[in-house]
């Protein structure tokens, strides 16, 4: 006989709104965001931390929602791609992605915008060498663009 799954309360702020939910202890943050909150802009890719499509902001720092439990965000604040354009750096970067060809299929784009916004907020991207820019964005893979468009967009948004 299967024991019913025990649920735990989870209270957090998501894109500025207070959310209360009940989740099993083993629920991953990415599944909570996509399936329970139905915010599907956050993607699931490698599930081992390397690709970055599951990136969200947690208390203003980018984290991977695939290697974190939902309950770890109790009492904290997350921002997903759906709410990220409230940050000025993201709004600029989104427009620059369109102008500079920062995407093709678009699967990686929400992750790129989360990681790119975090980078723009902390560093002067205009002053960065190309190699440093690539290292700073390491772990945010794109299988379409070859990264040139993404780098151009980051530099444009930084101006």
């Amino acid at each position: 006989m299967q024991t019913p799954q025990q649920l735990y309360p989870l209270n957090l702020t998501v894109n500025g709104a207070e959310v209360s939910a009940q989740v099993p202890s083993t629920r991953r943050l990415v599944d909570f965001i996509r399936e329970d909150l139905e915010l599907t802009g956050t993607k699931v890719g490698c599930e081992v931390g390397f690709c970055g499509v599951c990136s969200v902001m947690l208390d203003g720092e980018p984290v991977a929602a695939c290697h974190m439990l939902a309950l770890q965000t109790d009492g904290r604040e997350i921002q997903t791609i759906e709410g990220l354009s409230a940050r000025p750096a993201c709004a600029k970067l989104r427009d620059a992605f369109v102008d500079e060809g920062g995407f093709q299929c678009g699967f990686c784009t929400s992750g790129q915008l989360v990681m790119g916004t975090a980078l723009l907020e902390k560093h002067d991207v205009c002053e960065m060498e190309t190699a440093d820019l690539a290292l700073a964005m390491a772990g945010t893979s794109c299988r379409c663009t070859g990264y040139y468009g993404i780098h151009r967009a980051l530099r444009k948004a930084a101006q």
Partner: protein, 295 residues
């Protein structure tokens, strides 16, 4: 499968909960959540350490020793001036752990406790003579980082014990440290091989040599190789004779047991030991940063 979830506020409470069969500590959750995804763990209970105040933060002693709380993240440590003042290569090493997301949540305690042989901190901390402070409901004990992992994904931790802190001893002016991480894939990937060497320089001779190898897929016994360095002469600029280095590299290459994988063949990794040893020894004399480090 239904795992319970607890958020104790003290080490004592956490240790008590961790004595139960099937209980797992949760720190940053990086390794734990991936193990869940892969079906490698089926926890009966999850004990989150996040609310335990005493596991957070770095404390400095007057003599320069540092006590690093188990929940310190890689990101916090690479930005901590006391850590980089103790040894600049620690800053580089933490800056090179995975990517910025991993560094934001992954903790040093979790990194050591998971004991993945590809991890970076253990070799360098071991060369620096650091120790792991382990606590249970009944006792506290201290184990050198070099002896903490007993094999791949295996440590000296017993059920009911947790890592409280990592202690870096006061640095003596005679301590020489060199670290080298070699990556064959992208720079955010795990090391293909890493190596740290440490010794005390006394009257232009090597004393108390230690060598730690990471990412060789198995627990590495380096005592045989390190012993070859004991008492060896250093030249005017702190170099060892190249014949000695060759001999040490040969013994290391024979004693590590790498497996062939997408990061390179076993034979290639044995060859890399030679490269890593030479570079690490070079860095015991100079303090130039390794290329490809972004913070």
């Amino acid at each position: 499968m239904s795992a319970t979830y607890a958020t104790p506020n003290t080490v004592a409470e956490a240790c008590e909960l961790l004595t139960a069969p099937g209980s797992h500590a949760l720190a940053g959750g990086v390794a734990f959540t991936m193990a869940l995804t892969k079906g490698q763990v089926d926890p009966a209970s999850i004990v989150s350490l996040a609310h335990i105040h005493e596991l957070h933060g770095v404390k400095g002693e007057i003599n320069g020793a540092l006590t690093i709380g188990a929940l310190s993240t890689h990101g916090q440590l690479l930005r901590d001036k006391r850590i980089t003042a103790h040894e600049a290569q620690l800053g580089e090493m933490f800056a090179d752990v995975g990517n910025v997301r991993v560094r934001a949540v992954g903790t040093l305690g979790g990194n050591l406790a998971y004991a993945d042989p590809r991890h970076d901190p253990a070799p360098l901390l071991g060369a620096l003579g650091a120790s792991v402070v382990i606590e249970s409901t009944t006792a506290r004990r201290t184990v050198p980082v070099a002896d903490f992992a007993t094999g791949a994904f295996a440590t000296v931790l017993h059920p009911g014990e947790l890592v409280r802190s990592i202690e870096l001893p006061a640095r003596s002016a005679e301590t020489r440290i060199g670290w080298c991480k070699l990556q064959t894939n992208s720079l955010d990937d795990y090391a293909t091989l890493s190596l740290a060497v440490g010794f005390e320089e006394s009257n232009r001779r090597v004393t108390h040599p230690r060598i730690l190898v990471g990412a060789a897929d198995t627990h590495v016994r380096t005592q045989r190789a390190a012993a070859l360095l004991d008492g060896v002469e250093l030249d005017a600029v702190g170099r060892l004779a190249s014949e000695v280095i060759e001999e040490v590299a040969d013994v290391l290459a024979a004693d590590i047991e790498p497996s062939s994988n997408h990061r390179g063949s076993a034979a290639y990794k044995r060859d890399l030991v030679r490269v890593a040893l030479n570079r690490a020894l070079d860095r015991t004399r100079t303090h130039s940063p390794q290329a490809g480090t972004f913070r």
